[in-house]
């Protein structure tokens, strides 16, 4: 439930031809297929209900919503009765009131009357409905068989850290079970028993909610009309009294939430139905894992130190900013203007990112700005811009509802993008098919009511070969959409590509051995994608984090163009962005070669535009990318860095190299919530703000610009953009004196054509805007490339498969690939500081039974994993989710040191690291690695703060 409610229409909205009927004498016109219940609600004639809610299909079990319809016998349930033209409905009369009161009486006869001390008091639909039907007594008394007296009451299940289950309060409306099925798609819940013994159950009898298959998305809690399923925070603190609409700060889905508060203390986060990205759904991170914002580890005071071996010294903002500016200026005086730079964060708002890149370009006087997208989706930007003309995905999330076949490549949405995965699974249950290209058997290969039509279980590093094999099949079997290609694409490029992929060496038969997948599987996948109707490609970092990441993005774009799967709903090429504002950080000019809006720094007209606006001469040469900054630091030509909300000492490849580069610098400034691993090498720490304190916007993976609103004051006393502006001033640049974040967005809109129509005021008025928002598309662009590509004609690129330099051999016979898990998020800085740690307290290495047996490794054994770069130790689990020859782990815990072993190999176009392919050996071990022992020393040092 949610205290501060959006209207619940009882059943989902429908699309269809208009139908006009009369309800209680009021004429109403609704789409065909709409329920009588919803139609009545739309003319302010809400009908009492218990088992109905508009996030779920109607169920018709509670018998509260009965109505009379002229010419129809009896009293049909309004939730399951669709409207008809000319229908005359009565929702209230004495007969209906008597029936409803009788039904309610039965419900209440088996419900504890402890309303005053109930956690749902004032926020209970059962209570509301009892009031609505005027129930004043229960003729049957409360002493008969029931579920709430001490002798019959089952214990409250408090196993889940975020919500509790109190069976005594359950009315068996099945809303929770249906929410788990219809909204989340996990099927963890069921109704156990029959008749009076019916009870909601989380799986088998031995299971409680924590041990069950429940993924803690919160959909059941949201759907429950009583206090049966209730947030632990509400049980503890009571119901909220006000709410603020804002946006989640975890993955790139960018879910809209209501932060429900008492004063400025968050009581719960409730997903917002009107949110375009999530439409009322959530996952365990966004819904529950927000406690890090007030965790005791938050550092809210600026700190400095002369050397990284010194203890930290808490100082004022002025002193910290002055200290940083003096050091950075000294470096430039001694080593040149290009000796410093910075990194923006995909965790921060568009406005915060914009000011950092502006500070670097205008105040530092160089283009040494990069962003964490460098290590995730930079190949997406390159590949889609080259082929389509713009660096972004083509669809909105809702588009998947019209897909007929989904080609999912190198992404694990049920873990990484769970709310979108639920949408995807819903479409699959409706009959769409899915092709999964992944070395691992992820949940979307096979899980309840989901079975992939094809699982292309490729060898890591052979993505491009797979795409070429699919393209070969499409071209040689006559499956190209010739009309689309002729009208929409560059013909010479297409013909060159067609000839290339048609070569025998690109056939599934020729490539099968290299890919490790049978040719008939590849051909079946190609035929299905090309012929099933709307074909939609969704992909993740399993595409981009390879030495051919950019090639692969272009190969997918080729496939979509060749089959005409671009430019309408249900199709497209869609990156699933890892972090909440990856898209926005890239849009805001975070790359060293591009100004905001993806315009190259060498373009004279664009540069003049920014020079005029910013009042500074700007460089026309690209700056350093993150790996280049680190290499230059080792060389001694790059000596100072400003790092906004990114923990490169944990997240970037080859940790030893990264930390050596950081240690070589004269001034490392970290702006973050916590003293992270990178802060162990910092001289200045500027405390950052959590998303609950920020004012600005995030742009999600569907280019949707969402407002982020502060629900509490900055714990640090200064917003991040103010701190950056003050640092720019201290560096001698006064062009960043903004009065508000809204003012920053106004500047962005003036200078960035795709954001021309965006403002905080417009977003606050309720507009949901997907860029480009300009004169041609004043209300935004949910689907890109509808009537032509942004670049004009689509460009096919030849995508020769080139094997990575990272090879297995007898010393390193296995391939390590890395990824994320549902409960944790990236480097874990936030989720490790919440109860989510209970699901994933440490990183685990997945190893195939055959590989484990060969090495004498048992379930849960500590193992050493070593590459040519380094070694670490962690615990192993034996599973055939990974194929023989491949091992897999996550990188959520710094002590695991997953990136101690990843290499510096990277994408040819963007330098995005090749995280997904590292040749390793795994052996049984009983001790931490040398790196882990050294890690403990540094880790301890970074938290030392000098006494006052």
């Amino acid at each position: 439930m949610a205290l501060l409610k959006e209207t619940d229409f009882g059943t989902p909205a429908k699309q269809g031809a208009p139908v006009t009927l009369t309800i209680d004498g009021v004429e109403v016109t609704v789409p065909e297929g709409t329920s009588v219940m919803r139609a009545a609600s739309e003319v302010d004639r809400p009908i009492p209900k218990l088992c109905a809610t508009d996030s779920l299909d109607p169920w018709g079990s509670c018998r509260m919503c009965l109505v009379e319809i002229e010419g129809v016998k009896g009293t049909p349930a309004s939730c399951t009765t669709p409207v008809r033209a000319g229908m005359v409905v009565t929702t209230q009369n004495d007969r209906l009131a008597k029936i409803r009161k009788g039904v309610m009486e039965l419900y209440i006869s088996d419900h504890p009357l402890d309303c005053l001390t109930c956690s749902a008091n004032g926020d209970c639909e059962l209570q509301d409905m009892a009031g609505a039907v005027g129930l004043r007594d229960v003729r049957y008394g409360m002493d008969n068989a029931n579920h709430f007296e001490a002798e019959s009451r089952k214990p409250v299940d408090t196993s889940n850290p975020y919500f509790q289950f109190d069976p005594a309060k359950c009315i068996v409306c099945s809303r929770c079970v249906r929410a788990c099925e219809e909204v989340q798609g996990t099927f963890a819940l069921t109704i156990d028993g029959r008749g009076f013994a019916s009870m909601v159950s989380a799986g088998a009898e031995i299971d409680d909610f924590f041990s069950s298959e429940c993924v803690s998305c919160g959909a059941c809690v949201q759907a429950c009309p009583t206090a049966t399923l209730m947030e632990a925070s509400v049980v503890e603190k009571g119901v909220p009294t006000r709410s603020v609409e804002t946006t989640c700060a975890y993955c790139g889905v960018g879910c809209s939430f209501k932060a429900e508060l008492q004063g400025d203390k968050v009581v719960r986060m409730v997903p917002q139905k009107s949110g375009g990205a999530n439409e009322g759904h959530s996952c365990v991170k966004g819904r529950f894992a927000w406690g890090y914002a007030t965790h005791k580890d938050r550092v809210t005071t600026p700190m400095v130190r002369e050397a990284i071996t010194d203890p930290w010294r808490a100082v004022s903002w002025d002193e910290a900013i002055g200290f940083a500016a003096e050091r950075l200026k000294k470096i430039q005086a001694e080593h040149g203007q290009g000796a410093i730079g910075g990194i923006t964060s995909s965790r921060c708002t568009n406005e915060e990112v914009y000011v950092v890149q502006k500070m670097i370009r205008a105040a530092f006087g160089n283009n040494n700005v990069d962003t964490c997208a460098r290590v995730c989706h930079s190949p997406t930007g390159y590949g889609l811009k080259t082929t389509f003309g713009t660096s972004a995905g083509t669809q909105n999330f809702k588009s998947v509802e019209k897909a007929d076949v989904i080609l999912l490549i190198g992404a694990n949405p049920t873990d990484g993008h769970p709310v979108f995965a639920s949408r995807m699974k819903k479409r699959l249950r409706e009959g769409a098919e899915i092709i999964v290209c992944d070395p691992r058997r992820i949940d979307l290969v096979k899980s309840p009511h989901i079975k992939a039509s094809q699982h292309v279980q490729l060898r890591p590093g052979t993505n491009v070969a797979v795409m070429n094999a699919l393209a070969h099949t499409i071209v040689t079997e006559g499956l190209v959409d010739e009309a689309f290609v002729a009208e929409r694409c560059e013909s010479a490029d297409f013909e060159r590509w067609r000839a290339f992929v048609a070569e025998d060496r690109n056939s599934p038969e020729a490539l099968a051995e290299r890919i490790g997948v049978a040719p008939e599987t590849l051909r079946a996948a190609a035929r299905l994608y090309a012929t099933a109707g709307n074909g939609a490609i969704y992909y993740g970092l399993g595409v981009t984090e390879h030495s051919q990441g950019s090639t692969m993005v272009m190969a997918m774009a080729n496939l979509a163009m060749a089959t005409g799967n671009i430019g309408r709903e249900g199709v497209g090429v869609n990156p699933l962005r890892g972090q909440n504002n990856v898209q926005g950080a890239c849009d805001m000019g975070s790359f060293p070669h591009e100004f905001p809006g993806y315009r190259h720094v060498s373009d004279d007209a664009t540069r003049a535009l920014f020079e005029n606006a910013w009042g500074r001469s700007l460089l026309s040469e690209p700056g350093l990318r993150i790996p280049n900054m680190l290499a230059a630091a080792i060389d001694g030509t790059y000596r100072g860095i400003f790092i906004q909300g990114e923990d490169i000492a944990q997240s970037d490849p080859n940790t030893v190299h990264v930390t050596a580069a950081l240690a070589a610098m004269d001034c490392v400034v970290v702006q973050d919530l916590f003293l992270n691993e990178t802060a162990g090498y910092a001289h200045v720490f500027l405390p950052g703000t959590s998303f609950l304190e920020k004012d600005g916007t995030f742009t999600n993976a569907e280019r949707r610009i969402n407002r982020v609103r502060p629900v509490m004051k900055e714990a640090t006393g200064l917003s991040e953009w103010e701190a950056v502006s003050r640092l720019a001033s201290a560096m001698g640049y006064d062009g960043m004196t903004y009065a508000s974040a809204a003012e920053i967005m106004d500047e962005i809109a003036v200078l960035t054509p795709t954001f021309a129509g965006v403002s905080h005021a417009r977003l606050d008025s309720g507009a949901s805007l997907q860029w480009p928002v300009n004169d041609a598309a004043p209300d935004g662009t949910p689907t890109m490339h509808k009537n032509g590509f942004v670049r004009g004609k689509g460009r096919f690129m030849v995508t020769e498969y080139v094997a990575t330099d990272e090879r297995t051999n007898r010393h390193y016979p296995l391939i390590l690939t890395t990824g994320r898990i549902l409960s944790q998020y990236n480097v874990g800085a936030q989720t490790r500081r919440t109860e989510n740690g209970r699901w994933h307290p440490e990183d685990i290495l997945e190893i195939h039974p055959h590989d484990a047996e060969e090495r004498g490794i048992g379930e849960g054994d500590m193992v050493s994993i070593g590459s040519r770069i380094g070694a670490t130790a962690l615990r192993a689990t034996i599973t055939d989710r990974v194929p023989q020859g491949v091992v897999y782990t996550t990188f959520h815990h710094p002590v695991s040191g997953a990136n101690v072993i990843t290499t510096e190999f990277s994408d040819w176009a963007t330098n995005c690291p090749e995280y997904k392919v590292t040749a390793v050996q795994v052996t049984k071990s009983n001790q931490p690695s040398d790196w882990q022992e050294r890690f403990h020393d540094v880790h301890e040092r970074q938290f030392v703060v000098a006494a006052e």
Binding site: G338, N367, N368, F500, S547, S550, T551, P592, H593, H600, S602, E621, P622, G623, L624, R625, N628, A631, A632, D635, T637, V798, E800, V802, D805, E904, W908, A909, T910, N911
Partner: protein
């Protein structure tokens, strides 16, 4: 930058453009380096070419020579 990194990165760029006609491929390799490599990286590349051209693929070498030549002409 380390010698092996400069050579590897240049060769990787060339590998992508190799399927294209030679003139186009050389121009594309040069343009890519111009668009994405900071001047000090290009200076490292120039120093590497001056010292020893071993290790570069023919296309990488041709593209590198072109972009470095353009840089020298501008200087």
């Amino acid at each position: 930058m380390k010698r092996q990194d400069i050579i590897r990165m240049t060769n990787q760029i060339a590998d992508f453009h190799r399927p294209y006609p030679e003139d186009e491929a050389v121009a594309s390799v040069a343009q890519h380096i111009r668009d994405f490599w900071d001047p000090r990286m290009r200076a490292d590349l120039a120093a590497q070419l001056a010292e020893d051209e071993a290790g570069f693929s023919p296309l990488a070498l041709a593209g590198a020579r072109r972009v470095i030549g353009e840089d020298m002409a501008r200087a």
